[in-house]
Amino acid sequence: MLHPFAKHLINRTLVAVVTLFIAFNVSYLLLRAIPASAVDTMLASVAQLGQRLDPEDYIRMRQTLMELFGLTGSPVDQYIAYLRRFFLLDFGPSFMAFPTPARNIVARFLPWTVGLLLVTTVISWLAGNTLGVFVSFVKNRRLSRTLENIAIMLYPIPYYVLSLALIYIFAFLIPIFSLSPVSVPSIRIASISDAINVAIYFFRAAALPAISIIIVSAFGWWFLSSRTLSISTITEDYVVFAKLRGVDIGRIRGKYVLRSVMVPQVTALALALGTIFSGALVTEYIFAYPGLGSLLYQSIIIGDYPIALTILSLSIIGVIISMWLLDTVVYYVIDPRIRYAR
């Protein structure tokens, strides 16, 4: 008989490892589907965009592409080479800034995306869950009905569609936010004033995308699901008994209902992470926010496969690792059953 946490940990780790492996194999197989003649077409389109290429650079680019699409070496060699590239995020030199490795360019844009995602995920999850639990206590049916209807309207809308509406209103009709152009977001903090400048830039650039993600995900999904969960929790016997026992109502709400709603919601958060990440990519590009979304867009225009593949494997690895952390570490903190059982 294993300790429940050990069981949970093994289970989650297994799922994470297998997910990584399957995702890797799917992307590997999909890349093999690309015909060999495509490589020269891709290179031609890189050359068309007006980049001056030395013949040697051209040959190196061609080699990179040939290797990425598995056109050189035996199948086993290809598989191992791709495995190495996938997990080390080493997809060779980028095309848009030629000799620079794609990995370095992605690393420069990464903190912006991670910052935006962390802030929006945490805020929307907390706000949505708290509001959902709160609404289920409110006696005023009109209020809870209205909030529910707003949430149901917002839930199916993707972030990026709402973003377009927000841009139109807040950057065009009422110009509160300006759409700052994509500048190179290198974070080099040498002095305090640098840090302040970076912070100001971050908040100005991140405000609108963050708002659009938070509105949709907090008042859409998190609100609806936590409301449903807490309505069914309130009718549980232990909550009714606590009420009869005269336990403070605030304590019932916080410790009895909110706490137990949080447990399934952490798993839901872990699952939602992949979709939040995908949605945020598009939102970033729409707002010209200097994150991975904008980089991805540029790499698509140029046909910069090394960068696109780096972002792909980074996103798969990143989302799976953070899911794993959420589902084990956070679970351990909020679910006492896992800690004390035996």
Binding site: L14, V26, A33, P156, P158, S278
Partner: protein, 298 residues
């Protein structure tokens, strides 16, 4: 046999009338009917609308019944927004439908198999479903679409989307199957000597099919949303009109900041209303199927 079919039909119509009692379902159905009618209206669009500069450029909307073409104005390359919009709607609905036809049925099959199998087979299918559910879909689809840009058509795009689309339905069908398989009627059926396939077809499937319908509708929503996301990155079928490519071209010509609202707004309004309409329908079906939800909110 004909009696059987008639009984089934009458049962379906009873369910339909019950659903019609929900306000949410009525609103959703009304939106959907309007959208389908608009999409059908695209059949009447003259072939000339596809050509650039067939109409004057950047013309604002004019409410002139004699010139229906210009009802929503024209784009910067001289094409009437009215016809682009209804064609885009039709194409997006087709993409959504085909993806749902492929993806949600694969999901139904895998989910059923996973729900009824035991031992290592179950673990394998669960791991497979879970890992596809967790995978961030958009980056994968983007790399795939980048490579297959040249052969992308209205019919191949749904195939590409289906690579990811089956996972959520499969997960849902699996959990429904598991809960049905644990009920007493299944044991009763098994002890009365009904064959395994008979149990699946007659006892399990009727419960799963209702949820399959909600999965089907949710997959349509997902597919239209994914197509739009790909299109905003310029990776959809840019030569065809879909809701996504319409947004892409409007953004590309900076319609937003040049004040060409009649070009930018129609696709956004239509996407939002399709999503809300379909979601209303699927959530009211889920509401009908799940007695626990039904009990609380009425």
């Amino acid at each position: 046999m004909s009696l059987n079919i008639r009984a089934k039909l009458s049962k379906i119509s009873t369910v339909f009338y019950t659903l019609l009692r929900y306000t949410r379902f009525r609103i959703g159905l009304a939106i959907l009917i309007v959208m389908v009618l608009l999409a059908l209206a695209s059949l009447t669009s003259p072939p000339v609308y596809r050509r650039w500069y067939a109409y004057p450029k950047d013309r604002p909307p004019q409410f002139n019944l004699a010139a229906m073409d210009l009802l929503l104005g024209t784009t910067s390359n001289g094409r009437p927004v009215t016809y682009i919009t209804i064609n885009a709607l039709a194409n997006s609905l087709i993409i959504g439908l085909v993806t749902a036809l492929i993806g949600s049925h694969i999901g139904l099959l895998v989910g059923l198999l996973s729900g009824i199998s035991r031992g290592y087979k179950e673990s394998v299918t669960v791991l497979l479903i879970d890992s596809f559910v967790c995978m961030p879909g958009l980056p994968l689809l983007i790399v795939l679409a980048m490579a297959l840009k040249n052969i992308m058509t209205i019919h191949t795009l749904p195939l590409i989307l289906s690579v990811i689309a089956w996972a959520w339905p499969a997960r849902n069908v699996r959990s429904i199957t598991l809960s049905v398989m644990g009920r007493e009627m299944i044991y009763l059926a098994r002890f009365s000597g009904i064959k395994f396939t008979g149990i699946i077809v007659h006892e399990v499937l009727p419960y799963v099919l209702g949820w399959h319908l909600t999965n089907f509708i949710n997959t349509i929503i997902w597919a239209i949303g994914m197509e739009t996301a790909l299109a905003i990155f310029g990776l959809s079928i840019l030569s065809e009109d879909t809701l996504g490519t319409m947004i892409y071209w409007a953004l590309n010509y900076n319609a937003l900041f040049r004040g060409l609202w009649w070009w930018m707004l129609p696709p956004i309004v239509i996407i939002i209303s399709i999503f809300i309409g379909l979601y209303f329908i699927s959530s009211s079906i889920a509401f009908y199927l799940n007695p626990r939800l039904r009990g609380h909110s009425q």
